[in-house]
Amino acid sequence: MHGREPFEMPGGKQLAEVSRRNRVELIEAGLTRRDLVKLGLLTAGGWLVAKLGLSARALKGGGPVHASPPTTPWVEELPLPPIVAAGDAAALGAVRPARAPNAAAGEGGRTAPHQHWALFDPAAADFHRIEARVATHSWHRELPADECWTFDGRFPGPLLHARRGRPMLVRIHNALPPLAGHRGYGRPELATRLVNAHTASESDGHPLETLRPGQWRDHLHLHRPAGFAEPGSGPAGDPREGLTTLWYHDQCLDFMAQNVYRGLMGLCCVLDERDTGDEADPSPTAWRLPSGRFDVPLVFHDRLFDTGGRAYFDLFDLDGVLGDTYTVNGRIRPFLRVARRKYRFRLVNMGPSRHLDLRLSNGQPLVRLSHDGCLLARPVTSANASLPVAGRCDVVVDFGRLPSGTTLHLVNVQEQVDGRGPTGRILPLGAGQAVLRFVVDGALETAGDPSRIPEALVEPPPVDRAAAVTTRTFELDHADGVWTVNGKPFDPHRITASPRRGTAEVWNVVNRSRTRAHTLHVPFETHQVLARGGIAPEAGLARRADIVRLAPGEGASLFLRFRDFVGRYVAHCRDGALADRGMLFQWRVVP
């Protein structure tokens, strides 16, 4: 064992130091965290070891040792982010939107004029003014109020409703404290991306184009499906490229994981003549999915709290950040009172590093509607909803057959013991972690259940493999604390690929890591998987996505199109901790 080192120990830290030394020795001895699990010294949730002074998190870097304070589950009601009504241009204040960056009036971050400006008619557009600011937040009544960085003072941030084809201009003000006065994790400089939206580069929140405190920035989202400026689809775009549940978050270079963890995220739902947001809509095109208070976003986030009960981020964890406390919509293990009818849940896994496999505790199936914000060809009845980090899935759950007073839970059965990704084992339902409780309440007024689940949703556009003009390969790897793409660390001055606007390409993405999973997010247009491990998806299972999930050693071929806009984008690992350590690359759509 280690001899005593010649240093002073701060008062009250001796035990922590002993535990830390033990961890280092275990690491030196070659024991991996998976070994510890096999030996029964570390449970899937890290709890046993946390109690013993060896949390899964602390195994990595010798950091302070603690587990989050215990809290009583199912006493907090699930908060529902209110839908923010869109305003007109006056909602923005005196400074009107302009095509060119308006630095003179305080606009920051944007470096290029808005593309397709002629499609933006202020009289037929939605306007939102969102302020990033510090706000107090309660994770649980048994913990003290915490300080979050939020959009408009709440976490999750405002829930926006957009309509397909109707431009939405979002002006984001940065009212966070100046960098010079800020201490602790996070960086108060913003680059906000509306994930999976088909957005021009200058509105996409490129990580290098940050908004400093005191500045504002206009993001123009046309919400036109891809193809609107290319031959073939017409000016409305290809309706098969339509989207549903999107989320927006900060992605400041090197600090994305920290800033999102601080609370800088929110949701945006896209509606159209099919998904109208009205379950009683008489229109023949309307699907009449559950709507209003029966359309509930669920944002899953696992966190770690310090012994004072405030959110804690491990700055010295270079391998993914795993919390020990589940939150949903910003509350620790809350409950939701549900009526005896159908609900639509919009599931979003904001990580930071935990993958989810969610099931209902009574074994009841879910009906999946979407994948990564893209509607499926048809609803799929399934036992589970699998959500990798940053994965999204809309599901319908029918509580109509359950007697009033029934309680059931949403349970995560994906085993994961560290930030490197799931073990691959699906736990028995009884051994999973209950994340959210549903309480069926027959007294809730519903006026019946007019909602329906349609037989068909959105057939993905066919893939024309022969249309691909280029095949590129991206190899994701890591070694010793560094992540690389094609063997190179991230260089903000390097453009890795330059596809031409209006073309299609095949991207072969290979996970060279032998030990950890990766989830690569490619923005701009959704892709379809041509093959995974050399095997094409089964007929009828084609779907669009903006994340490709790769197990260790796995490779996938993606079919992508690059339509309508030019400019630079970044693709990055959806685990922000890895993106902040170099697992990202830039590409530029060129004319």
Partner: protein, 209 residues
């Protein structure tokens, strides 16, 4: 230390921790005065030795109140990747010029003497390729293998061990850049272009957006 022995020691120590762990468990992320001290509870105050033979403590003498870049390498190693890393980091020091040791501190944690230690870091020859050395601007440090492993672990690199120097703690492909008083830290590849490393240092120091 083999695996069985590690487990033998771990069990009683861990069991002893049960009754009192809650009292001592407290992460170091509260408000702290300027001048550093934020990470006193995180970094061990390890005893290390500079190339010049001066004893220093990791936290009090090297990290507290400073903006730093920590690299873990063997500048005496003749493997091509190590030579390239040393050359790259030497270029960074040249780009920083007089700022080294003034507003930015560059630390190279190197293997102990006999394992290509501080002397080699100065550019002593080794097998194969000619080692690059680090040149001026760097504070070259060494200590026992155990101290270096703990040092590395405290920067978050222990569990990430692997790659070309698996089992050899002093080597890392990453550098860790930190502003201790502001609790602002990030990691980057040691082979990142020196100009980009300089940008990151300035962003961490707070003098660049």
């Amino acid at each position: 230390m083999n695996r069985r022995r590690a487990l033998f020691w771990m069990l009683p120590l861990a069991a002893a921790a049960i009754p009192v762990i809650g009292r001592f468990a407290s992460p170091a992320q509260g408000r702290r005065p300027r001048g550093g001290g934020a990470h006193r509870g995180h970094f061990p105050n390890l005893g290390l030795t500079t190339r010049e033979g001066r004893p220093v403590r990791l936290y009090d003498d090297l990290l507290r109140g400073r903006t730093v870049l920590a690299a873990f390498l063997d500048p005496g190693c003749a493997e091509a990747a190590c030579v390239a890393t040393a050359e790259n980091l030497a270029r960074l020091a040249r780009a920083l010029g007089e700022r080294c040791g003034r507003d930015v501190f560059l630390y190279a944690f190197t293997p102990p003497p006999g394992g290509g230690g501080p002397d080699a870091a100065a550019g002593a020859p080794a097998r194969g390729l000619k080692p690059a050395g680090l040149g001026p601007g760097w504070t070259v440090l060494s200590g026992s293998g155990r101290s270096l492993a703990r040092c590395r672990a405290s920067f978050g690199l222990a569990a990430a061990a692997g790659g070309r120097h698996r089992g050899s703690p002093p080597h890392a492909n990453a550098v860790v850049i930190g502003n201790e008083p502001h609790e602002r830290w990030l990691a980057a590849a040691a082979l990142t272009d020196p100009e980009v490393l300089l940008e990151k240092l300035d962003r961490v120091a707070g003098i660049r957006s």
